[in-house]
Symmetry: C2
Subunit: 360 residues, 2 copies
């Protein structure tokens, strides 16, 4: 049963700034979507006064005081040791675990949040290792890319799990019933890519899932083109691809800024084209797509960028809100169950001809 | 002994266009650097008439006819089967092997060129698997990134080989005596990255090579910042990082172009800022840094982008020219010999304390 209001647990102390971003971000979100309540966890002395500035938010929130919070530089083991059961991050996750909230949002450090999420919420029955999925702006709109850093390496089965979970998330974010899924691979060698990726391609082709449409292999430059709705890779490559793209975008923005202030003529041109540049800036604004989704856990957890401002944090809450409203966990469980049945069916079926090599 | 003129072997048939790009590209190069001669391999009927248009180039070249060439879509095994000893690609490589040329340049397909290079030139004695190194434009200038797709996966020793070879190339391209080297890794998890990368980090720290300065781990967004001169990773991740960056750059260029033609005001602004946009375009021009260098072979091979035009192909020749003039192979052999001695020394030395975990 979907509760009438979406109940959102916030780690009020997470992020580079902390409450001064989280509270205004939540207030902003409430202005857009009044059908939510907040469970806030953080230091009363810091959060209380901020909350007083936003009476509507205050009325829709319950603040639970804790004097313990995870620092951005804390190692996951340290965070667990010092912050288990008592930190604002843990308490936000625990609210989801206990059923007091539908989703937890934190801008705290990724490693600690993932470690605590695994410890507190546990993974879904069928899933060994959780993943982090990001929303990637493309020329055709948006795509989901996962895993962008939760766990390193993958066997064929894990790639299938990632595909199924990513497709469920894409169906929510993109509103597509049967998202297309591509496995990230390299196209240089004849025997393309690593064995596990090839094996995963065969499994996905055989899967015939109602929840996703397997496209085949995609390469790095296909992500930005928006060739598929969901790009699947393991956490090492995914993290490097994501950060490389972010780095390239920042690099080009810097070059553009320098070029536009390099001469009087350029500056005049900039003034004329100001609104075009504003559009451009908006399209390139990383805040638009803030909010990594932790997938594979028994609960919904959203990781906001640590450096996000209130607008960015509001975006992360929106991502969480959508996941709850569109029942992400049910979608994932259904799709995983189907995939598992299909695999069991395939295992008991007579041995088929080996499928042809992928030739995307 | 360095020959007075650099002797360049060209696969005249390689690339999406073939001779109509290769020959004008070579002519353009000769205008810039007269201290070269060319060994051309290709179809007399196609190459001959083009050569007649460039009398200076014709005078500096010898054309060897062959009616066989590798197609862009050929698989490496197919290329080897049909093109060994007879194709324009093979003959260009063989000219290097036989000592008739100092470097081979081809815009033919990467997989075939790598397979033929391994087969024809063989790897250096100390190297198991060759790599492809690319020049990556950064905010601080240029960096060398390798391996961008030659071979997948790496053990610690291979990462060290890549570091040594990449540093040798960087010393040529960047003119830095002791280039800084970073291992590409992820920063999300406490136990950062894969075991092999961590082990390579320890080896590189102990190496104390006169030819490179080990910086530590770098992340994807550090590449564009130009944090290190040489970024080292294995071919799967490197290929995906490279193509993801290319895709992001193209994506942003498209968005910029659309923004600048979105309104009359924007178009007027564009006219005023025209020269700034020209600078921008030039900085983003992939032709500026065309030419992947195959490292680890007993000979210098340059892979031009298949879609390069004459200017781009000329850039690839320039890369090869620099590698010859600055004796890339000697630099690599010297550095590899030093690294091997250091490793042997370390192996016979008393067992040291395990080095501290990388905490870049």
């Amino acid at each position: 049963m979907m509760p009438q209001k979406v109940r959102i647990a916030l780690d009020a102390m997470g992020g580079d700034i902390g409450p001064a971003v989280v509270i205004p971000g939540a207030a902003r979100f409430l202005d857009q979507r009044p059908d939510v309540t907040f469970e806030l966890f953080g230091d009363q002395a810091q959060v209380g006064p901020l909350l007083d500035q936003f009476p509507r938010l205050k009325a829709a929130s319950r603040l639970t005081h804790t004097a313990v919070w995870v620092k951005m530089g804390d190692k996951p083991s340290q965070a667990l040791r010092q912050g288990r059961r008592v930190s604002s991050m843990w308490l936000a996750l625990d609210a989801v675990k206990k059923g007091d909230a539908d989703v937890a949002v934190s801008a705290g450090n990724t490693g600690a949040l993932m470690a605590m999420s695994k410890f507190c919420l546990r993974t879904m029955a069928q899933i060994d290792r959780p993943a982090i999925a990001g929303v990637w702006p493309t020329l055709r709109g948006q795509s989901i890319v996962l895993d962008v850093g939760a766990s390193i390496g993958a066997d064929a089965g894990h790639y299938v799990d990632l595909s199924v979970m990513g497709a469920a998330m894409a169906s929510v974010i993109l509103g597509v019933e049967k998202p297309t899924v591509g496995l990230l691979n390299v196209g240089v060698e004849e025997i393309k890519g690593i064995e596990e990726v090839k094996a995963a391609g065969r499994l996905l082709r055989e899967l015939d899932s109602p929840a996703l449409s397997y496209h085949g292999f995609v390469e790095g430059d296909d992500i930005g083109k928006g060739v598929v709705d969901v790009v699947v890779t393991e956490g090492f490559t995914g993290n490097i691809a994501l950060k490389t793209a972010e780095g390239t975008a920042r690099q080009l923005a810097t070059i553009l800024r320098e070029a536009m202030s390099s001469s009087l003529m350029a500056k005049i041109g900039y003034l004329f084209a100001r609104s075009a540049f504003a559009t451009l800036r908006e399209k390139m604004d990383p805040r638009r797509v803030n909010g990594g989704v932790f997938l594979g856990l028994d609960g919904i957890v959203i990781k906001s960028h640590g450096g996000a401002d209130a607008i960015g944090f509001c975006g992360a809450i929106e991502t969480g809100y959508q996941m709850v409203r569109h029942e992400l966990l049910h979608r994932i469980r259904d799709a995983l169950a189907h995939a598992q049945e299909a695999r069991l069916g395939a295992a008991s079926a007579p041995v088929a001809e080996p499928s042809a090599t992928e030739t995307h």
